[in-house]
Subunit: 248 residues, 2 copies
DNA sequence: GACATTATCAAACATTTGTTTAATATTGTC
DNA sequence: GACAATATTAAACAAATGTTTGATAATGTC
């Protein structure tokens, strides 16, 4: 007999097994890496038989690919409608520098608060960091549909805020340093926690980080020299909302 | 017959074999991670037999430990006498904020130029980043004798530069954001290279990064509010030169 | 040159790994 | 309830991995 929908909301038994497997896979792939993690451990953690992985996903590699897909969905979902706000600004003919600066600050803060600081996203971040290390299939996916899109959006905002071409190497480098201020907390999470004597990057602690971050950005946008008219925004970035792009 | 010293400078045959294995191990551990790397691959890359690893190091794990030691040595060696300069400043009774700010800038630039940007240090950075992900034996070593020492030194400098207690959470968080501006280039190396269309972070490209970085720091130290006297530097950090410290 | 130490190597070994199989149980449909 | 499709499981399998072994070569010392 089919289990009523209100017991397993919208999910067939098949989908529930897949989901449990996926959740366990994120955790264990994150902790041990694609090579260190074993299908047996993942299956055990998900309360499933080893063969279930081959049955539902077609093997370890395919499971890993599915995990990547899930991470990307989670990533964009957590950012809510902020990407839409950026896209809005991108459509304007003469976006205001102050507005761009403000949105950049909000976006980076949101990335920290909703994503990087979260205890429930540690495994995801671990996985992403690992994939940053080398060009594998996982890296390609995350870069093309995650990092690059976000990076381009941030470069656009920084470009407008500082009156520079978003594709100028200096703008890209500058944006990278801004991004690093936030991402470093996630990438060296354990070390940061220890140095601060914290148990988590969330909650009250997140408030301090966000305060420091926003103060940094404000100071930078106030103090950095703005380019004279002429070297202004030329092309603009790719639209942040068209996330499935080839090339580069 | 013993090979004359000038043919294999100061190295016995034993040491040369160990060295070749170590070099190959850094590269392959860096690329594939401790789990992904196999002893057979490392041995092949080093031109040695598989059994040589057990013979000279006592097994894969011990080889990995030895690699960590080597990385630590390389790390501090590349920083030259900059740590000594920090230690100098730490000994002064009333270190000048401007001098601290200048040294902080020089230190972070040196970390980028001599370490993070270098093509010949990619494998090392990869290994370090991987170890950042979780508390394993490798992490403990790198944290206690690498990250923590550097972090404390930077916090001291930032504290002096901004007139704040180096152990105040806000100072530590602030320092972390400063550090992240540089380290992010190494931690997301591949992504940064692609976004910039660069082949390397070295040379001419490094000049741009350093320029942006120093401009950021200068702007921040000029614009961030300095604490009033009273909330001034209290304890100072541990001495940067005593690198083998227990606790924390 | 003889002898002991050290180094090198291919083969063997025991585990662990991802995957497949084949039998059994469950579920959905009529 | 019968039948077919789908799920689940333990066992089997082949490939790989880290380690050990035992034999042979090279090296250093007297």
């Amino acid at each position: 007999m089919r289990v009523p929908a209100f017991f397993s909301p919208g999910l067939s038994k098949r989908d529930r097994a897949r989901l449990k497997l996926l959740e366990a896979a994120v955790r264990i792939f994150g902790r041990k890496g694609p090579d260190g993690a074993t299908v047996r451990e993942i299956a055990r953690a998900a309360g499933q038989n080893v063969a279930a992985i081959a049955y539902y996903f077609g093997g370890k590699q395919k499971l890993y690919d599915a995990v990547m897909e899930g991470i990307l969905r989670e990533l964009w979902q957590r950012l809510g409608d902020l990407p839409a706000e950026v896209a809005n600004l991108q459509q304007q003919r003469e976006p205001a520098p102050a507005e761009a600066a403000r949105l950049l600050s909000r976006l980076l803060s949101a990335i920290y608060v909703r994503l990087l600081s979260r205890d429930d996203a540690v495994a995801i971040v671990q996985l992403v960091v690992r994939e940053q290390l080398g060009p594998t299939s996982g890296f390609e996916t995350l870069y093309r549909r995650g990092f690059r899109v976000l990076h381009e959006a941030l470069c656009f905002l920084a470009g407008v805020a500082l009156g520079r071409d978003p594709r100028d190497p200096e703008t890209i480098v500058r944006t990278h340093t801004l991004m690093g201020q936030v991402y470093f907390f996630a990438m060296s999470r354990e070390a940061a926690l220890r140095r601060l004597g914290w148990k988590s990057l969330e909650g009250k602690n997140a408030e301090l980080v966000v305060r420091v971050l926003e103060q940094n950005l404000e100071t930078l946008f106030a103090g950095l020299p703005r380019a004279r008219a002429g070297s202004r925004v030329k092309g603009g970035a790719r639209d942040i909302q068209t996330q499935n792009n080839p090339k580069t």
